[in-house]
């Protein structure tokens, strides 16, 4: 059981990374990754919603009629998204403001619906949690990696601490949309290259 848990957890990190391999959940990755701080907040929010909804969906999978499963999944997911939205608004108002509309949009983040439909509704709770954690951490890794590059070159800072000398004038392109699109393209190409190298 423990080995299976790790197997499904690792699956989301690289081999089936939701962002770079399955190409889902891209919107928030690009929009939020201007600052590392926002990336960590978004990652935590997605991990929470993904894990809780996968657990609940897996627990109720035997009682849900097949015809109405999608609306039921949506209700479960939107409940947890509302929780995250309200908690962030109450305790972390600056972070909530920085991420803006992308917190409520977690509800239509394809990662969560896809994992609910493809995995959690068919597997026992423990494995569903393993898969959700793996996918969530894989998502957080990618978004944070992109965030580090964008904040470093865009502002010359990491987590708002200056890294480059004061004379460094940020690269505007990294903060603006074109830089984000280019970076995600480069990361996918890099992942393709490294996976090919590992498995000849």
């Amino acid at each position: 059981m423990m080995r299976e848990f790790w197997h499904y957890f690792r699956n989301g990190l690289l081999g089936e990374n939701p962002v770079l391999k399955l190409m889902i959940g891209l919107c928030s990755v690009l929009a939020v990754s201007v600052r590392v701080e926002n990336c960590l907040g978004m990652g935590a929010a997605v991990i929470f919603v993904l894990t809780c909804s996968s657990l609940v969906i897996s627990l109720i999978r035997n009682f849900v009629p097949n015809e109405v499963r999608i609306p039921i999944f949506i209700v479960v997911i939107s409940t947890f998204t509302t929780i995250v939205d309200l908690v962030m608004k109450a305790y972390l108002p600056p972070l909530s403001k920085a991420m803006g509309i992308f917190i409520p949009l977690i509800v239509v983040n394809c990662i969560i619906m896809a994992r609910a439909e493809a995995f959690a509704s068919r597997k026992p709770p423990l494995l569903a949690v393993a898969d959700a954690l793996g996918m969530g951490v894989g998502y957080t890794l990618v978004i944070t990696a992109i965030g580090v590059v964008r904040e470093l070159f865009g502002y010359g800072e990491i987590l708002s601490h200056p890294v480059f000398p004061r004379a460094y004038q940020g690269m505007m392109a990294m903060i603006l949309p074109p830089g984000a699109f280019l970076l995600i393209g480069i990361s996918i190409a890099l992942l393709n290259w490294s996976l090919k190298k590992v498995k000849p």
Binding site: L105, P177, G185, I188
Partner: protein
């Protein structure tokens, strides 16, 4: 009267071009990448998105201003809006299939994809957040959908050309699509500052 028309015009330009929902706000990327493999597909998808986006923003605007705000139920917004959109898409699909089979054939297969399209949900949220009037919401949603369709068709055109290009091995597929999107986004940056 003339200031009202000017406001509407500002909404159109900023929603369709300056704040293009895909290239400037990063919303709705999944259908953007998924449905842009041919120009014909992208036009069908654009039509379906326009249709649902306008309907959804009207319905959610009415619900929000006449039910939610008076009753103080704002915290239920996420759950209710997504359910409204899902129901609406189902209804539209059934009605079209029965009454307008031609239109259904043109955009029917795209409708189920739209339920979890973040662009639709985002537009309903934003329309409410900006405090628009009903007329402004309608204009806003049409222009956002127009911007979405323009970006989608442009990328589809580029991708049809890309099929003939020699792309380095690891850049084939999605990576080169993102590079093309990057260039499109640079082009759309030219609209920045057009509307204050």
């Amino acid at each position: 009267m003339s200031t009202e028309i000017l406001t509407l015009f500002k909404i159109i330009v900023s929603a369709a071009f300056v704040d293009n929902i895909i290239l400037a706000r990063y919303i709705g990327l999944c259908p953007y990448i998924g449905m842009s493999s041919s120009v014909a597909n992208s036009i069908g998808m654009g039509m379906a998105v326009t249709f649902v986006m306008v309907l959804a923003s009207i319905v959610t605007w009415v619900l929000w201003n006449f039910i939610f705000v008076p009753l103080g139920l704002e915290y239920l917004r996420i759950m209710v809006f997504i359910l409204v959109i899902a129901t609406l898409v189902q209804l539209v699909e059934i009605l079209l299939k029965k009454n307008v089979p031609n239109l259904y054939r043109a955009m029917g297969i795209y409708l189920p994809l739209i339920t979890t399209n973040c662009a639709i949900l985002a537009v309903t949220f934003l329309g409410v957040d900006y405090g628009y009037t009903l007329l402004q919401v309608v204009v806003y949603s049409i222009s956002v959908a127009l911007g979405f369709t323009v970006a989608l068709v442009l990328l589809a055109g580029i991708r049809e050309r890309l099929r003939l290009a020699r792309v380095p091995q690891f850049w084939q597929g999605y990576p080169i699509v993102f590079v093309a999107t990057c260039l499109l986004a640079i082009a759309f940056l030219g609209f920045k500052g057009l509307v204050k």
